[in-house]
Structures are given as structure tokens and as C-alpha cells.
């Protein structure tokens, strides 16, 4: 087991390195750098001005060198000015005395760089945004996992029954509804003061506010409540739910045809007891893996929903960083998301072994 985890960690590290290098390479292509220089400097820069701007800021070194500097294994670039005061580098601003200048600054030294869009250190930015998205994800999981499991177990306990068919159709419908479709429909139906349900309900006096839900989650960043936070949570959970429910159903139907369930039925155990005591525990092993592997997919949903509902979390940060070619921020964002993907994969593998006695023993 220990060796297995060690090997997986090694592969993870290699994957993360490869992926960050790809992101690094793509963001450091010359047209991207040119765009960066023009948005940072001004849009009417001549080609020579762009080149000297990039040269001064170390962008024109070979990609591998820059990558090494970003990692912190190579010394950072230094641009020597005419006076010692004007000398600046990757790790220190102009005016730093020579003895205070660190040579290396990168991930290994704990320095994630400086965001060119937000004008603040990348590490802090990512952490604050990640906390906001963490709040969103927590509620998404709280809503999605129990409801998906209930739907899947109910559908799978009597295969082919009416309940099974209705719930299966429901799960198919949710997997066919991407977030940008369900979000748009929810806002139009539930959060518009002119269309959908809200005007009706307001007329009947059932709701105090103008709309049933708020179509923007910006206020939920500070203080989240049911009114402003439910729609984004629902939108993300719905898309992921169908898939988990279908996997749970498949696993449940398989368990329900097993020999020991038949034995229990023949012994005269009550159906509810069979489902809850005998079937459920074995049926929930497979969905665990699916839920863990679903988390990286939720990341896509988070980006879409945060854009749609204007919730300034991690997904919104990704869009901002990518749209403005903010290289260091984008790298930090991709490192975080790649780690999320790989860690969830690792947890799902290890968890599967722990949950499933058949694998553990052999």
C-alpha cells in the first residue's frame, strides 16, 4: 500500500510538472507576450517598444530558463539599470540595496509571483478566491451527493419499475443540461421580476421580495443565504447529479440481483430492511469513486456558474487570468486545479481499496 501511494505521488508530481510546463509554454508564446505588454504598457506601442519592455522584464529568455526561475531552481533575472538604484529583477523591485536582493524566488521559496491584472501577490489572491469557491463547493456537495444517492438507490432497488423509469429519465435530463442552459432557465423562470414565477408569486403575496431568488450571487460572497446562493448551487449540482445517480442505480441493481439478497428475501426479511441493511453498504462503494472523480468536473461547472452569476471565486479568477494572459496567476490557477484533479484521483483509488474488502484481501 505504501509503495503504491509513493508511486502514485511520483506520477502525480511528474504530471503536475508536465502540465505546468505546457501552460507556461503556451502563455509565453510571443503573440501572448505581445498582448501582455500592450495591455500593461499601452496599446500603441511599437514593435521595438514591446520588445524592450519584454526584454527588461525577463520575458525574452528561453522558456526553460524562465520555467526554472518560476520554479525557483534557477536564479531570477536581473536588469541592470544605469545607476545601482535603477537595477531591478524578478525577485526585488528597483531601489533595493544589493545585500537585500534574493537570488532565487519561485514556488520552492514559496513565492507565487505577482499578478499583472490585480496588482497584488498571486498567493493571496488565489487563497481568497479559493475560499469563496470552497464555500460554493461545500454547499454543492451537500446538495448534490445526498440527492444523487437517494435518487440512484430509489431507482435501482426495483429495476424496471415505474419509479425507476421516472427517476432514470430525470437523471438523463439533468446530464443533458449543461450549467449554462440550466442557469439561464433558472434565472429566467425564478429570478426575473418580469417573467416566470416571481411576478405571479409576488402578486399573490407569497413572497416579500420582488423575485423568488436573486439572479446574481455577488452579495453571497460576503453573506450567503438561501435567497442569493441557492440558484448557483442548484445549477452546479444538477449537472453532476444525474451522472452520480445513474452510477448509483447501476451499482444498486447489480447488488439487488446478488445471491445474498435473494437469500435474505427467502428468509422473509422485510424489503425496507434488505435495502437499508444488506444492499446499501455494498451498493455505495462504486458511487464513492464516481463522486471523487466528479469533483474535477465540478470545476468546469464552477467556472461557468461563477461567470453567469457573477460570483467572484476561483472560476472567475481563472477567466480573468486567462483573458488577460496574466501568466503567473494563470500558472497558480492551473497548479491548484491540477492538484485538485490528481488528489481526488488518488483519494478515489485509495478509498476504493479501503471500502472494498474483496480488493483489500487479494
Amino acid at each position: 500500500m505504501g509503495l503504491f501511494i509513493l508511486r502514485r505521488l511520483g506520477v502525480m508530481l511528474l504530471t503536475a510538472l508536465c502540465l505546468t510546463f505546457i501552460v507556461f509554454w503556451l502563455t509565453n508564446l510571443y503573440p501572448n507576450l505581445e498582448k501582455l505588454a500592450k495591455t500593461q504598457g499601452n496599446f500603441r506601442m511599437s514593435d521595438e517598444a514591446v520588445a524592450s519592455y519584454l526584454e527588461d522584464r525577463g520575458y525574452l529568455q528561453p522558456t526553460v530558463d524562465k520555467f526554472g526561475e518560476w520554479l525557483g531552481v534557477l536564479p531570477g533575472w536581473v536588469t541592470t539599470g544605469e545607476t545601482p538604484d535603477e537595477t531591478f529583477g524578478r525577485c526585488f523591485p528597483a531601489g533595493t540595496p544589493a545585500e537585500d536582493r534574493p537570488t532565487r524566488c519561485g514556488i520552492l521559496q514559496g513565492d507565487w509571483g505577482f499578478s499583472t491584472v490585480f496588482k497584488e501577490p498571486v498567493g493571496e489572491t488565489v487563497l481568497t478566491r479559493l475560499a469563496l469557491t470552497g464555500k460554493l463547493m461545500f454547499w454543492v456537495l451537500m446538495l448534490m451527493v445526498p440527492s444523487a444517492l437517494i435518487v440512484g438507490v430509489l431507482a435501482g432497488m426495483r429495476e424496471g419499475s415505474k419509479l425507476d423509469r421516472s427517476l432514470s429519465t430525470f437523471s438523463i435530463a439533468t446530464t443533458a443540461t449543461p450549467e449554462y442552459v440550466s442557469g439561464v432557465i433558472f434565472i429566467a423562470v425564478l429570478a426575473s421580476s418580469r417573467f416566470g414565477l416571481s411576478p405571479l408569486l409576488a402578486e399573490w403575496g407569497w413572497i416579500d421580495s420582488k423575485t423568488l431568488f436573486l439572479g446574481s450571487a455577488t452579495s453571497a460572497m460576503k453573506d450567503a443565504n438561501f435567497w442569493n446562493f441557492f440558484l448557483p448551487v442548484l445549477t452546479i449540482s444538477l449537472y453532476g447529479m444525474g451522472y452520480i445517480a445513474r452510477m448509483t442505480r447501476a451499482s444498486m441493481t447489480e447488488v439487488m440481483t446478488a445471491q445474498y439478497i435473494r437469500t435474505a428475501r427467502l428468509k422473509g426479511v422485510k424489503f425496507s430492511e434488505i435495502v437499508l441493511k444488506h444492499a446499501l453498504r455494498n451498493a455505495l462503494i462504486a458511487p464513492f469513486t464516481v463522486i471523487m472523480l466528479q469533483i474535477p468536473w465540478l470545476l468546469n461547472g464552477v467556472v461557468i456558474v461563477e461567470t453567469l452569476f457573477n460570483y467572484k471565486g476561483f472560476g472567475w479568477l481563472l477567466v480573468q487570468a486567462a483573458a488577460n494572459n496574466d501568466i503567473e496567476l494563470l500558472l497558480a490557477v492551473s497548479v491548484v486545479s491540477v492538484i485538485v484533479v490528481l488528489v481526488t484521483q488518488l483519494i478515489s483509488d485509495i478509498g476504493y481499496v479501503f471500502l472494498n474488502p474483496r480488493i483489500r484481501i487479494s
Binding site: C18, V23, T177, V181, V184, I185
Partner: protein, 488 residues
Amino acid sequence: MEQLTWTGSLAGLNIIFLGLCVMLALAVAAQIVVSFLPASDAQEINPDGTVARRGGLAGGLNRAVILLFALLVLVLLIYTIAGAFMGPQAGIFGGMSQQMLPVWIALILTFAVSIHFKRRLGLYGKLFDSTVGMIGFAIVMFWVFTGIFGGLFDLLVTHDSLSQTSGMKNKLPGTPLRSPDEGVYPWFLLGGDNLARDVFSRLIKGSWVVVQIAPLATLFAFMVGITLGLPAGYYGGRLDTILSFLANLILAFPVILLFYLLVTPEIVMTGIPNYMAVFLFIFPLIFLAVLLNSRYYTQPSFRTPLLIVVLGIVGWLYLSLVSTDGAIVATDTYRIPGLPSMIDLFDIDAGVLVVFVSVVFVNSPTVFRIVRGLALDIKTRDYVAAAQTRGEGPWYIMLWEILPNARGPLIVDFCLRIGYTTILLGTLGFFGLGLESESPDWGSTINAGRRLLSLYPHAAIAPALALLSLVLGLNLLADGLREESLRD
């Protein structure tokens, strides 16, 4: 001209329609409740000694649900057929139904022919034994025909999808034009968007974008996945380790991040999408070459001319696909010459190419994993061992023994994956990546409409529902196919 209502002179049917909907919902709910009760085993003995089992409450409910469903379909058919004849007199639905007339005819023809010959059509024919499969197929074909007739032949649409009409900005569905010229359709059936363009016509033009790109991109992804996945599963070993690592590498990328990195004008300028196109589009060529060669290499007199003809045609298509204006890659600093524009069959816009390439790129690793898994499973079967004993080559076994036996899951996944590709295309449009902002594709239209969503939702709702129905249709179709292919 006056404002159209949704159903116009057929408004009397609405109450029946609503009533049927409510009753159907109640009946299904009742059925679910009844399914929890223990079944009543009411039996009666007939005079001739046979035993008949009565359906009891559950049976009666079942019949009621079927009846209500049939009635509901009938009312919907009345809306559609009456609308097709009455046109805008029957409201917005009538107007749309009349515009869609060629689609209805094509659908009816397809279904009539398919059902008539269904016993001779293999898996496709069996699809018409399953209700779910038929519903899915009908929805998918509806959009395919809409795309072909509307996008390719310019039928169906009421106005130009790009031109703006004065006074129609953000107008509600069914608004008449202010002063229509002679011969111009006098209404905006689904209203106007925030640039005063006709939502209905853009919806139809948008379906063509999806119908063109999604199946083709999925097909290319399958070619890549199959060509790499079969040897990875069959040979295993180091090849498998390397290929699986690469596949996992791409899969570990959040899709949206990848899109944001790849689908930008700056990346198009560097020529990277062209290199990727050159790499990814060669796989169908390799696939066909290996497929034919492994089968016929024992008969060189037949194999050689066959390969020359097939590879010649496919190679020509390949070169036309990857070269634009006589160059495969053309950047500011250098260019790699390709097929001269004289014999270049078609040119693909750089924006569309980058979208196409990235969608193929994102989908292929998943297909690779599926094919690899299937190959790992099937290679242990007896018929593979028999082929090995016969002395067949590895590629013959992979392509002519393993692949045909893996077709069931692959066909089902193909349908699902077209749906997923549609969602990806919508995502790209939603973030304004790739296609131009005035492109009528559904994602871009949703993106344009979402800013005014709470005030004028129709401009975003129409493409959202269209996308939803297409993906749902593909999912239902896949479900029907899965059911029918398991029944063998």
C-alpha cells in the same frame, strides 16, 4: 399586423393541453405511489378452467397513463399539423410549424421508410422497437434536418440571421415588423435580440453550426482514440504506459483552462492549431490504411490498387483540410507550403479550425481510455486466441476481431459523445472563444442574451432550450441503442 399570441386561434386547445399535462403528472405520481404497495394478486377462475389475473389498481393506472400520453401526443400533433396549414393564424407555434414544413416531411419520410424496412436494418432497425430510442432519434433528426434545410439550403428561416431590423430591438416573441416590405415575413416569431436580429432565424442557422461540427469532431476523436487505444490495450507494456500517461495528462487539464489557452487569436497566429490539425487529422488516414492492408495483404493484386484509390482520395481530403491558401502553416515569419489552392477542395476558417481541433483534442483521450479498456477485455476471448493460432497478424486481430466485437459500447458512446461535444461547443460560445461574436451558434447566442436575462429572457432561452433538446435527444437515443444492443 398585430402581435401574435403563442397559439392564436387554436387557443381553445390550451386548456385541454394543460389539463392533460396535469392529469398525466398525477397519474404517473399515483403509479409511483402504487408501486410501493404490495401487488394485489387478484385472480379469477374462468368457466373453462383457465385462470386470469386481473391487473388491479396498478394495471388500471398503467392503462390510464398510456391513454393520457397518447392523448397528449395527439394534441401536440394537432398543434403541429393545424399550425402547418394555418400558419401564423395559429399563433407563434403555427408560424414556426409552417416554416418547419420541409423538416416535418423529411421526418415523416425517414420514419416511414425506416419502420417499413426495420427488420433488414440491423441495430438501426431495432431502434424502432424502443419508444425511448424513437423519441431520441426523432429529436436528433429534427435538428439534423433543421440544420441541413435551414443552414445549407437557406429554407425555413424568415429573415437574414445577421441583418438588423429597425424597431425590433429586444422585442417579445410574435412582434410584427413596423413596416414590412413586400415579401418580407411580417413577424419576428421568437422576438428580436439586443441587436434587433430575428431570434428564430438565428436559432435555425445556429443548428447548422452544431450539426456540422459536433458529429465530425466526434468522429475524428474516435479515429484517434481507436487507432491509439487498440494497440495500447492489445500490446500493453511500455507503449500502454506512455500512451496512458499522455491521455491522463490531457484529462487532468480542466477543459475550460485548456480552451482559454488554445482557442485565442494569439494562439491562432502562432500556427499551433495548424500543427495540431496536421497531427490529429492524419489518424483517419492511418486507420484506413492499416484496416485495409491488414485484411488484404495476402492478395497484393487486389490490395495495392485498393489502397492507392482509397488513400489517394482520403489523402486529398486530408491535404485540403489542413491547407489554406496553399499553405499548411502560415505565420508572419515563415510558411510551410501545402496543397496549391487550385486543387484545394475547401478552406476552413482559422477560427472554426481551432475550435474543431481543440474539441477533438479534448475528446480523444476519453475515447482512448474506453477503447483500451474494451481491448483489454476482449483480447482474452477465445476467438482472439483462435485468430492468433491461425497466424493472423496483430493489426488484423485488433481491427477485424476486437473492434467489431466492441462496436456496441462504442456506438452508444458515440451518441453520448456527440452530445458532450455539443455541450463543449456551447461552452466555447458561452465564453466567447473561437467563433466570431456575431456567429449564430447557440453558445454565442446564449452569451449575448445573458446580459439582459432578467429583462428580456427570450433571446437566451430559445437557444438554451434548443441545445437542451438536442443533447437530451442524443442521450435518449444512446439509451435506446444500449437497451436494444443488450437484448441480442
